[in-house]
Symmetry: C2
């Protein structure tokens, strides 16, 4: 395992009691098909709609729009309308969005570290 992952906190009530629904809420937010992709593509630099569209291929206009609205609704991205000659809209992460990006990067590390192992387990399991 290439990267250190914090040891499991044995007394982690956050995941079980009241926190269970909270965690579910978060997973419903970032568990959809595109939210994490958008968050990662935004990163620290503000980007425009079609710019995000190209970077996040093969996302559709509809889903990009919907995803951005959802993220804006939750205070994770800001949408600023520049009133220039051709219409122009800038999207950027809020501080809260940036903190979520950090969490997502943890997830990404785990994903990269375990992707191969999971794939092996999967094919082994399916072989029966």
């Amino acid at each position: 395992m290439a990267h250190p992952i914090p040891p499991v906190d044995d007394t982690a009530p956050a995941l079980c009691g009241q926190g269970r629904e909270l965690v579910r809420d978060v997973l419903e937010r970032i568990g959809d098909k595109w939210s994490v992709v958008i968050i990662c593509q935004l990163g620290h630099t503000t980007k425009r709609f079609n710019e995000l569209r190209r970077l996040s291929e093969p996302i559709t206009q509809r889903m990009l729009s919907a995803t951005l609205q959802g993220l804006e609704r939750d205070g994770l991205v800001t949408r600023t309308l520049r009133d220039t000659k051709p219409l122009r809209v800038d999207y950027a992460l809020t501080p809260r969005g940036l903190s979520l990006l950090a969490v997502a990067q943890n997830l990404a590390r785990w994903a990269v570290d375990n992707a191969a192992g999971i794939q092996d387990s999967r094919t082994a399991f399916d072989a029966r």
Copy 2:
């Protein structure tokens, strides 16, 4: 913000290039309705089917069964069949499952820390 969250790594290619699909895979694994709940309920102690069922209410038999099979397929939990008088099956997290639990707890902390703020942003956004 009560808990420290590691600062954003600016050079995080894992999330963008090849890693993007990997992260999507992981989110498809834990993004369903019950996987994280089960993983958290298992924690460090092995548990039986109906035990998990009660702890994870209001999960249905069908979804518990399906979720456990998915987790087993990915090498996140082990299923051991004890051949006692009334049938008995024990489930436990594998090392890989435990490492995922740690990641999930990060997520949980973020969820707890930001739940209120997100709720505020949401109602503010919906007020228009």
